[in-house]
Point group: C2
Chain length 305, copies 2
């Protein structure tokens, strides 16, 4: 038997996205001070990067209306990248003013989801990214998160050719770092490996990361497929909090603790302390009232005949 | 890139173990009539086999004290194997009287767990299996479930050499069908593949199945590793109910719905209807009061520094 587990990467980096992707789904406002305390606890864990918040309209996501205050209040640990999601030029101004280390733009691989999520077509979103790239020049590192790469709640499967086309356009805008997101948690490991192989044959020199949801119990299987396909950067969320508020059926980010424990036990270094993330997860449990209900709901939402 | 997903088996069989391994962990007694109705619903789903109950002491597992009544009450669908766990000769008598299709004996790969779980050493349990094999002759199909193959709550990692030794002894007793159980849900996919490769080099002609728990989110990743290692029979439990009452930290069987949806979407035939298992899971939710708390708890129990 050929061993598909023997030549995996020895080191990966983990982007903790809970404060952004997890908390945005918590209906009850988490007081700013608590957010800051929790992010400070996360900072000690050894993550390569923390997605701290999102500079979106407070009407769209009221939970993150304190983005600037959170950024101003956290203690930054040297070596940790503190990033934020930025949907448009107004958000960009606020993010730059807050001293964000890295800007994360986002776009969907599915035209319908892009319209539902961002209220505009992919072409318009690309034009916005182009303007933002021009306005920042090379002063800030940038990543683009591409959602629904492996499936869309409205369009079903997204052909990899369409993903590649979009990626070409991002490359043309000077984007090197891209996260491929399975927003719904529907990607099978076989599919993830196929898409990565396809992108490999396209010759992209992009730095690809993976963002997986565990709605259907597949997230870690997808991580392994990602590793086999050469991925060394993974998003995850402490406690498995998260989902996409505009993608029906989506829920439950890959839990950071599940990711870190599995990788470390496979001999893959994450740089993250297992003791400290368990402490941080305990803190999260105390501070986020809806945690229980939320973690439960993501077990149920996804399967459809 | 070599594709580890292209030569997977085209067909697998699924053993629904929820009525035995799931319900035994539910503290409040599920009325016998409800159990029968649920098993009848499961019977329509297309499972190769249903582990209906366990002929254990009612003191050890009060939930399954109605084993004989359940067996007498269910409608048997031709083609479905209705099996039961049998811990000893008293249980064997009851199981044979109930007309069980297949007998499932069990033993642990870890001496300490065997003592904790069965109150006797591995050698004694093997002697019991030998006596039971002698008393039934070849009238009934038999399987042995070997627990803690990939790790033990008391002894930690179990060396594959020790597993192989135990398997040799089972072969000598005439046992062909064996299920390798990750009772704690701690096996990494790499470890599962390694153990299967090791057993392959030992030249076993046994019919191996896999029984995985999702306590750490790894179950489906382990299924993929199992498929790559040649496994085509998997245990799972509708709703992810389950755990081992005598293995601290163990909780949460691989959910049947997670298994079936993932395999079918990967083009692997399970024979199980996705529509019908969702209906059955809904029925389970209505009938098992503790389902919510249970599903939640298994998300939390396993990670230890």
């Amino acid at each position: 038997m050929l061993n598909p587990y023997q030549d995996l990467p020895g080191t990966v980096s983990i982007v903790e996205v809970g404060p952004r992707d997890g908390w945005q789904n918590v209906a009850e406002f988490i007081p700013t001070r608590r957010k800051i305390d929790m992010i400070n606890a996360f900072s000690a864990c050894g993550f390569a990067e923390i997605e701290v918040t999102s500079f979106v309209s407070p009407r769209a996501i009221p939970q993150l209306r304190d983005a600037a205050e959170v950024f101003a209040g956290i203690d930054r640990v040297p070596g940790v990248v503190y990033s934020a999601l930025v949907p448009n030029e107004r958000g960009l101004k606020q993010a730059l003013a807050a001293g964000v280390d890295k800007l994360v733009f986002f776009i969907s691989a599915s035209e319908t989801h892009n319209r539902e999520n961002l209220g505009q077509g992919i072409a318009q979103t690309l034009a916005g990214i182009e303007r933002m790239m021009a306005s920042i020049g090379s002063v800030k590192p940038v990543r683009v998160a591409v959602s629904n790469v492996f499936g869309c709640p409205f369009e079903g499967k997204v052909p990899p050719e369409r993903v590649a086309e979009l990626l070409e356009k991002l490359v043309a805008l000077g984007i090197r770092e891209v996260t491929l997101c399975d927003t719904l948690g529907v990607a099978t490991p076989g599919q993830i490996f196929s898409v990565l192989s396809y992108l490999d044959t396209c010759g992209f020199e992009s730095d690809f990361g993976l963002h997986l949801h565990d709605s259907c119990g597949r997230a870690l299987a997808g991580v392994v497929a990602g590793l086999q396909g050469g991925i060394t950067r993974f998003d995850s969320s402490l406690g498995g909090l998260g989902g996409c508020p505009f993608a029906p059926g989506a829920a439950g980010n890959l839990a950071t603790e599940d990711l870190v424990f599995c990788l470390e036990e496979m001999g893959i270094k994450t740089g993250v302390s297992r003791d400290l993330i368990l402490q941080a997860a305990g803190m999260l449990e105390k501070n986020v009232d809806q945690l229980a209900g939320h973690m439960l709901s993501f077990l149920r939402g996804c399967h459809k005949p």
